[in-house]
Every structure is written in structure tokens, then in C-alpha cells.
């Protein structure tokens, strides 16, 4: 346990990959923090290291150097299974291209993070229906993902991310596959969630998205700029 005043604190973070014998630094050195209830956009070109940074913040990608401390927990000092529990409790992921399970209905996809909890199915159902309602898809709860539009699938992905009410939402290019008006709807939805108390971190290469953020971080060649 490491005490910190910030929700997320990144200290001397670095991530190297090896491409054959060549070392590639996806993240050279980053030090920054994110406070509770902030809405952060991380912007940068493809290959700039922004998705690597998001994965590291989500306890998915062990950094080569440095530490990430979330709510006083040093993420990479935890075991693999403790990190899985951390993700379950603290993080809601919104993946690029929605990443819904195609053979599960909207309701089942949203309930997916609850599958490993011991709550009664009735309660799980109610929790899922509440968030489905919140993203405006109540009437399509029993449809399969491929019966929905791109914007609707993104809403389902957001509903799945918030169903367990995690304090942090990490979104990787949530508007990457959407037209501009649907993108705006999604960003509005994320903004409303932020207003409701969620800390939101969005990785995007779309400069228009930073208007929704309380703070914008720029990543270029594995380095951090504000």
C-alpha cells in the first residue's frame, strides 16, 4: 500500500518491446497523475504509445520501468490474480471496435463482468437493466450485437464498463469506428458519466474529442506532454 493524494499516479513509467534483437521503447519515461472524477483525453499518433499507456494503467501490461499507483495500490507489485481482482473492482474498459461477445444478447454482454460475482441473478439482472436504460437501449436488451448499429454497440460496451460501478473508465478509441454525430453522442454519454462521478480516461487520435475533457494529455514518441 502506497499512500498518494491522486487517484492514479504514474511514476517513471517506461515500456520497452523487442522487435527481433532491436529494442523499441513504446513509452520512454512518463510521470503524471490523474485525480478523482477527472475526464482525461490522451491524444497522439498511431504508434505513439498511448494504447500501451492505457493498458498499463488498466493493469493489463506490465511496464519495464516505473510504477503505477491507483488508489494507493502499486499495481505491478500485485500478483496476476490480484490484478484481475483489481480490474474487476476498479476498471471499466471500453475497447476499440466494441468487443462484444457475439453469441450473448445485449443484456448478457452487459452482465458479463457480474458473472464472477456471487450476487443473485435477479440483482445482476436489475443492475444490467439499469445501465442499459442509462445508455438508452432498454428496448434492445434482448438483441444480439450484430442486430445493433455501431453507435448502439458502443453504448452496450459502455454499459458493460459501468455495470459494476468501477471508479475508473478506460476507453481506447471509443469513437474510432463511428461517424461524427454518433461520436459526439458517445462522448456526451461519457461526459455525463464523468459528471456522475466516474473518472474517465479516453485514448483518441481525434483532436475534436479534447473539448469534452477536463484535461488533455499528448503522447508523442513514447513521451508525455501536457
Amino acid at each position: 500500500m502506497t499512500h498518494t493524494d491522486h487517484l492514479i499516479e504514474i511514476k517513471g513509467l517506461g515500456k520497452d518491446y523487442f522487435s527481433g534483437d532491436t529494442k523499441v521503447s513504446a513509452i520512454k519515461k512518463m510521470d503524471f497523475f490523474i485525480d478523482d472524477e477527472e475526464f482525461i483525453t490522451i491524444m497522439g499518433q498511431s504508434g505513439s504509445g498511448k494504447s500501451t499507456l492505457l493498458a498499463a494503467m488498466g493493469a493489463l501490461n506490465q511496464p519495464t520501468r516505473g510504477r503505477i499507483i491507483v488508489d494507493s495500490l502499486d499495481l505491478y507489485a500485485l500478483s496476476n490474480e490480484q490484478r484481475a481482482d483489481f480490474r474487476s473492482e476498479y476498471i471499466g474498459f471500453v475497447f476499440q471496435s466494441f468487443q462484444l461477445i457475439p453469441y450473448l444478447t445485449v443484456l448478457e454482454n452487459v452482465k458479463l463482468p457480474l458473472a464472477v460475482t456471487s450476487q443473485k441473478n435477479k440483482i445482476k439482472n436489475q443492475m444490467a437493466l439499469d445501465v442499459i436504460d442509462r445508455v438508452g437501449l432498454s428496448e434492445k436488451a434482448h438483441r444480439l450485437p450484430d442486430q445493433l448499429s455501431g453507435g448502439e454497440q458502443e453504448r452496450v460496451a459502455i454499459a458493460r464498463a459501468i455495470v459494476k460501478k468501477p471508479p475508473i473508465i478506460l476507453a481506447d478509441e471509443p469513437t474510432g469506428n463511428l461517424d461524427s454525430s454518433t461520436s459526439q453522442e458517445i462522448m456526451m454519454l461519457l461526459k455525463s458519466l464523468n459528471m456522475g462521478g466516474y473518472t474517465i480516461v479516453v485514448v483518441t487520435h481525434n483532436a475534436d474529442m479534447k473539448t469534452y475533457a477536463s484535461r488533455n494529455i499528448k503522447v508523442q514518441d513514447g513521451e508525455y506532454y501536457e
Partner: protein, 386 residues
């Protein structure tokens, strides 16, 4: 939403792949069930046939003299009197504990007679029992005796007496008709005149006496020593001998079939396991993205393993039960085709339970490596595939 919903959902979604996997198990289990059913049927059939090959227990009167003969050749000058026991006592044989195992009881009286001034052996038998026991007897022409004054002649005695089928000869002032002459059997019958038991007893002056009894015991894996002991208890004056060679050959045949089935079963199980392993590996590789999502949203390694192993278990149950049903159907259809007088011996529930458990175990075992591989998948690697 529980983990099993994900397993069932995946099974229903990938019907073709799962059907292929189940098919692997069905082929494996149905082959084993068919093979075992056929082997069981063959075993019983062989037992029946072997029992038809003749007596496996011989009962003779006790004698203090030792027979100096080997392979039908008598040596030395020991002249021992032929002893008999009472025919009345023979009914007691049906009161032994394992009486149900006694298939044929063929009493005989033996003695020398003079025909056409030549001394020959007369063997009195109960034709019904004797012909059931000696299924290998083949007549040259004519027919088997139907009346008291009709006899069978062995091939050697017919030559010795210079007689043919249909001719008559006199014995103790009574005419007997030769109803048939046997083809050479290579055994003692070749040298004997075979007549009705009662008639022979009168001719030989041995009314109500028996020289020996041949017994065919009809039972699975015959507790032959036990049977001989039980008979010996009822007949204290008799020497009861088990022809172990017949029993041993019977047991060897059965063991041979069992070993054959076991060998084939092991090969089929091995092939079935490989099929399940390959299909499951393919299924896990296809689901890299899905497993990445599970891990990213907080599923532990154990949860991922549970999902995959539950799928394997469900498919194992389906494959096992289907394989058992198809195996029985195949056995029912095949047995009459591959075996003369072959009968399907019905559904064996124990075999059903064992084969279903085997299919589940096989499926779980073959899925263990893919499940471990999936659960150990680095979520960041899996997400890179997104």
C-alpha cells in the same frame, strides 16, 4: 449471468465445431461399446460352441488299479476288472449345488461282445444325450438309430467285421440292424458298436449298471474344479475328473478376444483424445480475443478454465451418451451379420455409465492443456489481437 451461460452460449454458437468434437467422442465411445458388445456376444457364443465340443467332466468308478495305457495303447499285463456303478444313483447328479451348470449327462455301459466270431467292444448309450454331446459324429450313410434294435458302428469295427449300413448281425440271440456307420473320428468310437443303453445292459448282463458317465458343464468360465468336487461328494465310489484342457482352451479363447478388444479400445481412445485435443486447441485459439476480454474485465485464470472445462464436460456427456446409444444400435445390427446364431445381449447400464464417464474424462483431459493455455494467456497479448 453465470460462467456456465458463457459455456452453453459458446456451444450453441459454434454448433458445427462442437458437433465435430462430439463426433470424435461419439466415434470413440460407440466403437468401444460396439466392440465390447460384440466381444461379449462372441464370448458367450464361443462358450456355447466349446461346450458342444464334448464332455469336460468324466465320471468313472473308483479303481485301486492303475490303467497302464496312453493314447489308446495298453501296455503290461495288468488285467483289471471293469467296475460299474448303479444307474439309479445317477439322478442324484441333478441335486448338486451347481446343477444348473450341467448341460449334458451321458451315461455309458461298456463290455466285450462276440459278433461273427470276433470279439468287439459294445458301448451302450442314451442316443439323445450322446448325439447332443458328440456333435462331430458324421454318418457315412443311413440314419441315426431310432429303435432299440438299431445300432451305430464305428468305422474301424465295421471294417473289422466286414459289414455295411443296413445289414444285420446277431448278438445274444437277437438281431440288430446297422442304421449307420460313422466316419472316422480318430477316437475310441471308431472301435465300438454303439447301441441303446438298456439293450446293451441286457446283452452284457449288466442291468442297471453304468461303466462311465460323460458330462458337459455349460457355464461361464466354468468353476470346473468346484463342479467336480460337488459331483464327487454325491458319488463317493466314483472318480470324477475334470478335463482341464478343454476349460483352459475355452478361457484362453475368451482372454484372447478380451485382449483384442482392449487393444482396439486403447487405440480408439487415443485417436479420440487427439481429435478432442486438436478441436479444443483450435477453439481456444479462435477465442483469443474473447478470452482477452474476459481477462480484461476481471476474470481470474480459474474462471477462464472453468468456462472451457465446463464446455468439455457438457460435450463429454453428450458424446458419451450418444456414443453409447449408437454403439448399442451398431452391435444390435452387426452381431447377427458377423456371427452365426449371434444374439445381442441387451443394453448394459453399467457399460453406459462407464462409457459416459470415460467420454467426460477424455474430454476433460484433452481440454486441460487448451484450458491452461487459455487461462495463462497474457491479457495484453490477447488485447493486441483486438
Amino acid at each position: 449471468m453465470k460462467l456456465h451461460n458463457i459455456s452453453f452460449g459458446n456451444i450453441l454458437r459454434k454448433k458445427a465445431k462442437m458437433l465435430f468434437l462430439v463426433l470424435g467422442l461419439v466415434i470413440g465411445i460407440s466403437t468401444i461399446v460396439t466392440l465390447l458388445s460384440i466381444t461379449e456376444s462372441m464370448t458367450q457364443n464361443i462358450e456355447k460352441r466349446l461346450n458342444k465340443f464334448g464332455a469336460n467332466i468324466i465320471m468313472t468308478p473308483k479303481s485301486e488299479n492303475l490303467s497302464l495305457s496312453y493314447g489308446g495303447i495298453y501296455v503290461g499285463g495288468v488285467n483289471y476288472k471293469v467296475q460299474e456303478f448303479d444307474q439309479d444313483r445317477l439322478t442324484h447328479i441333478r441335486s448338486i449345488k451347481n446343477a444348473k451348470s450341467l448341460s449334458i449327462v451321458a451315461p455309458k455301459v461298456l463290455g466285450p461282445v462276440v459278433v461273427n466270431d470276433k470279439k468287439v467292444l459294445l458301448m451302450g448309450v442314451v442316443f439323445k444325450e450322446e448325439l447332443s454331446l458328440k456333435t462331430w459324429w458324421q454318418k457315412t450313410n443311413g440314419y441315426f438309430p431310432q429303435k432299440d434294435d438299431e445300432v451305430i458302428l464305428g468305422s474301424q469295427v465295421a471294417k473289422f467285421l466286414g459289414v455295411k449300413t443296413g445289414q444285420t448281425f446277431e448278438l445274444s440271440n437277437k438281431l440288430f440292424k446297422i442304421s449307420t456307420i460313422l466316419k472316422s473320428t480318430g477316437s475310441s468310437e471308431d472301435n465300438a458298436i454303439i447301441a441303446d443303453l438298456k439293450v446293451s445292459q441286457k446283452v452284457l448282463g449288466k442291468d442297471g449298471k453304468l461303466s462311465m458317465v460323460e458330462i458337459a458343464a455349460f457355464c461361464r468360465g466354468c468353476p470346473i474344479n468346484e463342479l467336480t468336487l460337488q459331483i464327487a461328494e454325491k458319488f463317493p465310489n466314483a472318480k470324477v475328473t475334470a478335463m482341464k484342457q478343454a476349460v483352459m482352451s475355452k478361457m484362453q479363447s475368451i482372454e484372447m478376444f478380451k485382449s483384442f478388444s482392449l487393444g482396439i479400445s486403447i487405440i480408439v481412445i487415443f485417436i479420440g483424445s487427439l481429435l478432442v485435443l486438436v478441436t479444443m486447441m483450435g477453439s481456444v485459439n479462435e477465442r483469443t480475443r474473447e478470452i482477452g476480454i474476459f481477462r480484461a474485465i476481471g476474470f481470474r485464470k480459474g474462471h477462464v478454465m472453468q468456462i472451457i472445462l465446463l464446455e468439455a464436460m457438457v460435450l463429454g456427456v453428450i458424446g458419451g451418451l450418444t456414443g453409447f446409444c449408437i454403439g448399442n444400435l451398431l452391435a444390435w445390427g452387426i452381431i447377427p451379420l458377423v456371427m452365426k446364431d449371434g444374439i445381442f445381449f441387451g443394453i448394459n447400464i453399467n457399460l453406459g455409465i462407464v462409457s459416459t464417464l470415460m467420454a467426460v474424462a477424455l474430454s476433460l483431459l484433452a481440454s486441460l492443456y487448451p484450458a491452461v493455455k487459455a487461462s495463462n494467456m497474457d491479457p495484453s497479448e490477447a488485447l493486441r489481437a483486438l
